[in-house]
Symmetry: D2
C-alpha cells in the first residue's frame, strides 16, 4: 500500500450520513478528507456544525456550487445529499473519465461542474439516486425523470456481502437504503437456496429517528417522537420497491413479479433498525435449514454474525458499528420462521457500508476504519 493517502470528498457533510462518514473516515489510516460541502452551512467549520468534530483538522464546509472541481485533487467522492440533487454532479464527475457511454450523454447543465477534473474519481453514493435499475420505477418513486440515466447502467448496487467482485471494479457504487440493508441481508441467501416462498414475505421494521435525516420536519421534533411509536409509509415507502428489486434477483424473477409486505415503524431512539421478517418455508424445509444456510453463508463475513439458536439481536448491540446481527426462530405456525436482523442505520445502513465499499474498491482490508465495538450502554 502506498504511503500516499486517498483524497476524499464528502458532498452533503452537514447531514447525518455525512457526519457519520466524517466520524469514520477521520480515523481511517489511508484517507484524507480534503473537501466537505454543505449548502445550508457553507462557510462554517465542521466544528460549528457538529461540535464533536471541533478538535479535528478538517476543511470548512463550502457550497457545492462553489467547488472548483478543476482545482481539487480527488480519488473518491462520497455523496450524502438528498435524492435527485447530485445526479448531474456525479455525471459531471465522470465526464472524460473514459466512460464513453457517459461522455456521449453529458448534457449542457453538467458543464458547470466538470471543466477539467484532474483525474478519474470513484463515486460512492449514499442517496437513492442510483439504486433503482429501472428508469420508470425511479421516476415513479422519486417524482422526477432521472437526470443521469446513463449512470444507472454502470452503478453497482453496493450491498457489499453480495457484490464484492462488481464493487472492486466499479466506478460508481450505489449504497443500499437503510431498510433494504437490514431486510435483504438474510433473505437473499434463503431465496437463493430456495428455502422460503418468495410470495409470502412480510417485513416489519422499526427504525431510529436519524433515518429521517437532519431535516426540519415537525414529525422529527423530540417532543413529537419521544414517548411513543407509530407505523408510517405503510405499503408506500420507497424502500419497498428497492427491497423487491433485490429480492427478485435472488429469487430469479423480474422485479415486477416480486411483491413483499413492508411496514416501517419509528421508535424513540437515534439509531438502529430492527427488522422482523415473517417467512413461509418451502415444503420439507425446517428452521434448522434456515439457521444452517445463514450460518454457512455468513460464517466468513467480517460484519455479519448469525446468533445461535435462541438468541435475538438488539439494535443497541450494533450501535455505531457496521455489524449485522441475525437471529432465527420457529414460528408458532408450522412451516414458518421468523428472522430478526439488527443494524445501525447510519453505519451499515449508510456511511459504514459506504466505507466498507470504499475499502473493497481500493483494495484495503474491509474492516479498515470499521473495526469498532458498539457503545453500549
Amino acid at each position: 500500500m502506498s504511503e500516499k493517502k486517498l483524497r476524499a470528498a464528502i458532498l452533503g457533510a452537514s447531514g447525518y450520513t455525512g457526519a457519520e462518514l466524517v466520524r469514520l473516515l477521520s480515523k481511517h489510516p489511508h484517507v484524507d478528507i480534503v473537501l466537505l460541502t454543505g449548502d445550508r452551512r457553507a462557510g462554517d467549520s465542521m466544528g460549528d456544525v457538529y461540535p464533536q468534530f471541533g478538535g479535528l483538522d478538517l476543511p470548512d464546509l463550502i457550497a457545492i456550487d462553489d467547488v472548483e472541481w478543476a482545482g481539487v485533487d480527488l480519488d473518491v467522492v462520497f455523496c450524502g445529499m438528498p435524492h435527485g440533487t447530485t445526479q448531474k454532479i456525479v455525471q459531471g464527475l465522470f465526464h472524460k473519465t473514459g466512460h464513453t457511454l457517459v461522455d456521449e450523454l453529458i448534457m449542457e447543465h453538467t458543464e458547470d461542474y466538470i471543466a477539467e477534473i484532474k483525474k478519474p474519481v470513484k463515486v460512492i453514493d449514499m442517496s437513492a439516486d442510483f439504486r433503482i435499475d429501472d428508469a420508470n420505477t425511479y421516476a415513479e418513486l422519486y417524482g422526477h425523470e432521472h437526470y443521469a440515466p446513463a449512470l444507472q447502467d454502470i452503478a453497482v448496487y453496493g450491498l457489499t456481502e453480495f457484490a464484492r467482485d462488481a464493487i472492486k471494479d466499479a466506478d460508481l457504487v450505489a449504497c443500499p437504503g437503510c431498510y433494504p440493508t437490514g431486510a435483504t441481508m438474510a433473505l437473499i441467501p434463503l431465496l437463493q437456496a430456495g428455502l422460503i416462498n418468495p410470495d409470502e414475505i412480510i417485513i416489519d421494521a422499526i427504525s431510529g429517528v436519524t433515518g429521517a435525516g437532519r431535516s426540519l420536519k415537525e414529525g422529527n421534533l423530540f417532543t413529537e417522537v419521544s414517548t411513543g411509536v407509530h407505523a408510517y409509509g405503510i405499503a408506500t415507502h420507497r424502500h419497498g420497491p428497492e427491497i423487491e428489486q433485490q429480492l427478485a434477483k435472488a429469487a430469479g424473477r423480474e422485479s415486477k413479479d416480486m411483491l413483499v409486505t413492508f411496514t416501517p415503524h419509528l421508535a424513540p431512539m437515534n439509531r438502529g433498525i430492527l427488522t422482523t421478517t415473517y417467512v413461509q418455508l418451502t415444503d420439507g424445509k425446517t428452521v434448522d435449514d434456515v439457521q444452517d444456510c445463514l450460518e454457512g453463508r455468513f460464517n466468513d463475513e467480517p460484519f455479519v454474525r448469525v446468533l445461535p439458536d435462541g438468541q435475538m439481536p438488539h439494535t443497541r448491540h450494533v450501535l455505531g458499528t457496521n455489524n449485522v446481527l441475525i437471529g432465527i426462530a420457529a414460528d408458532r405456525r408450522p412451516g414458518r420462521a421468523i428472522i430478526v436482523t439488527a443494524i445501525d442505520n447510519l453505519t451499515k445502513g449508510s456511511s459504514g457500508q459506504a466505507l466498507q465499499n470504499m475499502n473493497v474498491m481500493f483494495g484495503f482490508d474491509e474492516k479498515t476504519g470499521l473495526d469498532i465495538e458498539a457503545v453500549f450502554p
Copy 2:
C-alpha cells in the same frame, strides 16, 4: 345512584397496574379506596411508594397476609398481583357468597383468608389468573396447576367491548392481557364477519417497558433498554395462546385449531402498545370492507376510534387514556390488509379496562373516571 360510594380494595398496589388504578380511582366520583396491599412495601404510605400520590388521602399499604378480611367492608376488589399469587385469595373472597359451585370446592388453604367476609364482593382481576379457559393450557403456560379451577368457570373474560352483558352480571372479571387487548380488538369483528382468513394472521407488537412491571430485572434497567429495540418471547410469549383463545371464539373454532404468529418487541418508552397486524382478506373482500366493518362495529363505542383512511395511530396519542385507535391500510400485496392499533398498556391494557369493567358491573356510565385526554407531548 346512591350517595354511598363503593368501597374498593387494590391488592398489589405497589406495582404499576396498582398505581395506575390508584391514579384513576382516586378521581372516580363513586369510589372510595379503603384497602391497599403491597407486600414489599407493607407499612409504607402510597406517597412513599409513589411520590405523585403524596397529596392524596389513601390508606397505607399492608401485607396481604395481614388483611383482616372479616373486618373490611368491601364492594369491589381489584387484583394487580403476579399471576398465581391471588387465586386462593380470590377463591376465599367468594366463600359463602352464594356461589354454590365455589363453596363446594373451597379447600383448606383458603380458610386463612376468608373467615367472615361481611358481604359478597365483586372481583376484578388484572393478572393472568382467570383469563385462560382451559386448565391444562393454564398449567402449561404458567407452570403450575390452577389453584382455583372452579373460578375459571365463573370468570368472565373482560374485553369490555365484546362482553358487556356478561360483565354486568359477573362476580369475577378477568381483564385481558395488554397484548391481547390491542391485538384482538380489531380482529374479532373481522373474524366474526368472515372478512379475513383465520389461518393467516400475523401480529407484530411493540410495547413500552411498563409492560414488564416494577420487578428488578437487569433487562428492565434504563441503561439496558434505552437507545434501542428488540424482539422477545418470539412464538413463546404467554399472550399468544390467550390471543388464540379469543380469536378462536370469534372464528367459531376450538382454541387448539387456532394458531397465530405473535411477536412482541420492546421499545424505549414507558407506555403504549402498537400492534401491526397482517391479514389475508377472504376472497372478494376489500380493504374498504374492513374499514366499513370496523367503523360500523365501533361507531358507538366510547373508547374505540377507527381512524379515517390514510391515518395511522401513534401510541403517544393514547398515553394515559383508555382509548383504542385503529388504522387500516391496504398491503402492497393484493388481497391483504394491515391493521394497526394503539393502546396504553397500563390503561386500556390493564387498569383502565379494569375500571371500565367496574363501571359496567356497578351500572355507572362507562366513561366515569376515564374521560381523560392523552398527555401529549
Copy 3:
C-alpha cells in the same frame, strides 16, 4: 354558579401550550371552547393537528386574521402565541370595554380587530407579552417597543399563589414564564420573611423540550437532544430578568437592584422543570426555618406541596399536573440551603396556571379541571 358555561377562545391552539389548554379545558365542567385559532394550520381540525383530540367536539382552527370578533360571543380569551404577536389584538379586545386608560391609547392598527365586540372579555395571556412591568426592559429583552403599553399597567402577573386578590378582579392576567414559576415559588416567601440573602441566589434549572414549543428548529429535533444534556442561554435567558423583577418585589427592592444567577439546561424529556436553588441564609437562620416557613406558607395551597425533610421532588411526579413539589436540604457549607422545586412546564408552568387563574377570575373552585394525578410511569 349559573348553568351557562363560559365561552372560551384559545388563540394559538396549534402550539403546545394551546394543546395543553385544550386537554384541560375540554374536561372543565363550566367551559365551552368556542374558538380556536392557529395560523399555520388554519382550516384543519384539532384532530388533524393533534390526533389525540380526534374524538372531541371542537371548532376547527382558523387564522387569527379571519376571526370576526364582532360575531363571536366570548367570556374569556387565552393567548398562547409567540410574544409580540397578540399585543395589539389583546388591546383591541379591550377597546370600549370601559377601560378609559385603554380607550385613550387605542391606536389605528388595532381597529382591524375590534369593531364591535359584544361584551367585555377577560384575557389570560400565556406569552411573555405582559409579564414585564418596565417598558424599556421589555423592549430590551424582546427586541421591540411594546405595542400595547397601556395594558402593561392593568395586567396582573399571575403567579396565582401570590396574586389571588388581584387576579379576582383582573381583566388581563399575564401568566408567568415556566422557569419563573418554578424558580420564584419557594423564594418569594423566603425573601418576604427575610430568611435568605437576596444578593446570593443561584438558580440552576433543567427543562424538558416542550419548553421550546413546536417550532422547527434544528436544536429541537429528537436526534439533537436525546441522549444528552446541555446548558443554554447562560446569563442571557429572558426569564432571568423576569425572575429578578418578581424576587425584587418580594425583597422590597427595585428590579434594577436585584441580580440573580440563572442557568437553564435542556434534558431529553418532554415535560418538567426541576429548579435547584442555592441560597445563603440570613445570620442565625437555619434550614429548619426555611422548612417551617415554606410549610407554613403553602400548607393550604391546593397545588403546592412541601416535601418532608429528606425527600426531593422528581419532575416525573408532577407530569401532566398543576402541582408544585418543593424539597429542602442543608448544604455542605454552613449557613446555606438548597431548595429544589419540580413543576410541569406546560401545566403549572403555562396552561394549567392559566386555567387556575381563570378559575380564580370567574369564582370557580381553584382545582376545577385541574384535579389530576401525574401519569407515572
Copy 4:
C-alpha cells in the same frame, strides 16, 4: 516498543465500567485481555453478558475466588468492582513485589490471593478504594475501615492531566470518580492560579444512568427514570469529599478546610456528566482571565478542549470518548463566572481515563486506543 503485548486482567468485567474497558482495550494495539472476572456471571462468555462482544475472542468470565493468581501471567490489572471488595486482592497482588511497606503489612486474609505471582503487576483501580487519602475520611464515607491502608500511601490519584509524572512511576493508580473528573478539571488550574475564591464554589452536575452501574435497584429501572429528572444525594454524595480533597490541594489547603456545594442530578440518558460550576472571581479578575488560564493550561492536552467564548458543551458531543469539553460564561452578577464541563462518565469518567493512565504507565502515546470520535447523533 516491544512486539510483546501487555497482558491485562479486568476484575469486574460484567459491570459497565468493565464492559467499557473491554470495548476500548479490545482495539488497543498493545494489549491482550487474558483474564476477566465477574462473580455474578461466572462461567458465561462476554458475549452472553454483553452480546455486542459476541464476535470478539475473549476469555470467559470466572469468579474472582477461582483465579489461580500463580498461574496467570499479567502485566496490568484493572479493577472495576464495587468499593471495598478488592482492597485485599490488590494488596495481595503487591505482595513480594518489592514494596517493603506493603510486604510488612500483608495480613493473613490476603494469602489466598497471592501465593506466587509470577512478576510484579501494575494495578489501575476504577473503584473508590484508593482515592481518599485520609483513612478516617474513607471509613466515614464508605462505612468500613480500609482493608489495605498501606496501599493508600502508594496509590496515585489518577486525574491524568494533573498527575502524569507520578502516574508514570506508579504501581497503583486510583482513577478519580466520574463527578470529580468533570468537576475538578477546570477548577484546579483556576485555584492554582488564584483566579477564584475557594470558599464560594457551587458544583451542580447532571449525570446519565450508567453512573449507577448495572445493579438492580428500583430507581434504575427504565420506567422510573425516563421522562424526568431529579436531584439526589444532595450534600451527602461521596464524591463531594473527594472533590474537596483534590480542590484543597489545588488551593494549597488542608482537605478539612475546603467545603464546596455539590448537587448531583440524574437525567434520562445513558452516559454523560454535565457539570455547571458557579465561581466567584478574585478581586480584579475577569472572565477573560478564566478563559485565558484554561486555554493556556489545556492547549496541549490531547483530550481536553476549551471552547471559544460563547460556546457551551453538550454531553452528547463527548459520548463514547475520553474527551473533556469546557465552556466559560460571565454570570449576570458581576465578578462571577459559570464554567460548564462535559464528559462521558464511563469513558473519561472511568474506563477511558483508566486506559489513558495505562498508556502513561507503560510509555504508550496517551491517545492509543482512545482516538475515538463521539457517536452523535
